[in-house]
């Protein structure tokens, strides 16, 4: 019967999804458990910081600049209707620091560094490098996963901060240099309106949470990938899709918690 088959399919998918969430949670705690050795050999984390953080700089800077410029243009057009062009700096800064900086930087991080992490670990599995490491009495989670995990967590807030900073300059370039908004009002109103704890710190917390989510998803998908070309490509796709949805879902929850009542 088609109905019974459909119900069976839904049940199977649900069980599979719950099982994978459980496996990912176990994987996350195992990563935390084996993190000690990573900190004792900090050069491993530094190497991964280069691969995930430094190598993402270009895409973050370019994207931040354009997002800031668009915000400057759109913000000016909107604020002009109410005669509040001088508040352009506040609008650009709050938009970036609270929302766009953490979210867009995390989305870019997922597609650039997250997919690379998944593909690399998946291929290491397919070419038996992970099995070889286990046979050499070295735990792969300690040696491969934990350094990448901490590199992701450290680099994500820094990249988001850089994205916001560059975006503010993008907004400044369009608003002040190109359109002619008063420079003094642009910076002074921004300085007066942006609160360190309420705005900047909450943005940093968001990017930290997004960084954790993206890195755990990317590492788990790579570690759990079937050791075939198709398996690795599927895992890489899942990393980008799942991370992007997780970022947007977490953003709503965090925004509601941080700014919902204010």
């Amino acid at each position: 019967m088609p109905a019974a088959k459909a119900i069976r399919g839904i049940g199977h998918s649900t069980i599979n999804a719950v099982w994978r969430i459980g496996m990912a949670t176990r994987f996350f705690f195992l990563t935390l458990m084996y993190s000690g050795s990573s900190f004792r050999r900090f050069h491993l984390i530094i190497k991964e910081l280069f691969a995930t953080g430094v190598m993402s700089l270009i895409i973050i800077i370019v994207a931040g600049m354009f997002v800031g410029m668009v915000l400057g243009l759109q913000g000016y057009e909107t604020l002009k209707r109410y005669g509040s062009e001088s508040a352009l700096g506040v609008m650009v800064a709050l938009g970036l620091v609270r929302e766009l900086g953490p979210v867009v930087a995390a989305l870019l991080f997922a597609s650039r560094a997250g997919s690379a992490m998944t593909a690399e670990i998946g291929l290491m599995k397919a070419t038996e490098q992970i099995s070889a490491m286990e046979m050499m009495a070295v735990h792969p989670i300690a040696r491969i996963v934990a350094p990448r995990f901490w590199a992701g967590i450290i680099s994500m807030p820094l990249l988001a901060a850089l994205f916001s900073a560059v975006g503010v300059f993008g907004g400044y370039f369009v608003g002040v240099v190109q359109i002619g908004v008063d420079e003094g009002s642009f910076w002074s109103q921004m300085q007066a309106a942006v609160d360190f704890e309420h705005d900047i710190l909450n943005g940093v917390i968001k990017s930290f949470v997004f960084g954790t989510a993206v890195t755990v998803i990317a590492l788990f998908e790579g570690y759990d990938a079937p050791p075939t070309a198709e398996g690795v490509s599927g895992a890489t796709t899942r990393t980008v899709v799942t991370s992007s949805l997780a970022i947007l879902m977490l953003d709503f929850i965090l925004t509601a918690m941080m700014f919902g009542g204010s």
């Binding site: 690399e120 291929l123 290491m124 070419t127 038996e128 490098q129 099995s131 070889a132 490491m133 286990e134 046979m135 050499m136 009495a137 070295v138 735990h139 040696r143």
Partner: protein, 267 residues
């Protein structure tokens, strides 16, 4: 367990997804001997190696290495045991993000507190033993298949293991590399005094170097003996395998339905 045997396998069974892979395997691997496990692809040879290395747990029976039952060991003890083992994977499994030097130095850095100067000397000695000292600055992607296998061999013996396992060491090698790798396996086993287990289906090369052979088919041992005994065997399976014949107990066709019915022809 006899003290002369480094590895003992008793009534070993392993089932994967309800499919029996190994059934009632009994083997012994005396210390210092080079022993081959041969058989067709998919007969359970690599699974057996993974059971010896503790990567899998048996459904029934046990594997004893150096007097200890592998599947009963906790992770710390198992890792302690693995430090005394080396395994050469089918295609080397070199770490692609590390140079040849760092690959060979990997275990020394992970498991010892040796100073870097001493590690350097040891790495160069290991690479020299496999004839590839000059490649220490290269990355694995710059090596040929045979060279990668030899570097992996140097990495396998980096900590002078008591047990060395080789998973299809001759697969995909050209004739010269094949002879070189075979010769290295023999010489390194002798020099280290290690017990070696070679899983292979390369009958010609392995028969030249091993002391004893176990033949496996469909998850059970079908024959065993010295290379001379194997060559002289009158068992159909062994004869077909050794001489690479089409006809014999190993069928050419995978079991399927009626051919005429599959082609929609009338009976």
């Amino acid at each position: 367990m006899s003290s002369s045997n480094l590895v003992e396998i008793s009534d070993l069974n392993f089932t994967y997804d309800k499919r029996p892979v190994l059934q009632g395997i009994n083997m012994v691997f005396p210390k210092g001997k080079l022993i081959a496990i041969m058989g067709l692809s998919g007969c359970g040879k690599t699974t057996l190696l993974r059971l010896i290395g503790g990567a899998l747990k048996p459904t029934k029976g046990y594997v004893k290495v150096d007097g200890q039952i592998i599947h009963e060991m906790d992770q710390e003890s198992l890792y302690g045991m693995r430090r005394k083992m080396g395994m050469l994977f089918q295609f080397g499994a070199l770490f692609t993000d590390m140079s040849v030097y760092d690959n060979v130095a990997f275990q020394m850095r992970e498991h010892t507190d040796l100073p870097e100067e001493l590690i350097r000397d040891l790495v160069l000695m290991k690479l020299h033993a496999v004839g590839l000292r000059g490649t220490h600055n290269l990355m694995p992607s710059e090596l040929s298949g045979g060279m990668a296998r030899r570097v992996a061999l140097a990495r396998t013996v980096a900590l002078d293991p008591m047990l060395i396992m080789y998973d299809e060491p001759f697969a995909g090698l050209d004739p010269i590399s094949l002879t070189v790798v075979g010769d290295l396996i023999r010489r390194l086993s002798g020099a280290l005094g290690a017990t070696s287990i070679v899983v292979t289906h390369d009958i010609q090369e392995s028969m030249k170097i091993v002391d004893y052979v176990y033949f496996m088919a469909n998850g059970v041992i079908v024959a065993e003996g010295t290379p001379d005994e194997i060559r002289a065997s009158d068992k159909d399976f062994v004869h077909q395998f050794v001489h690479g014949e089409m006809d014999g107990p190993v069928p050419f066709h995978y079991p399927g339905g009626n051919y005429r019915q599959d082609l929609n022809l009338q009976a």
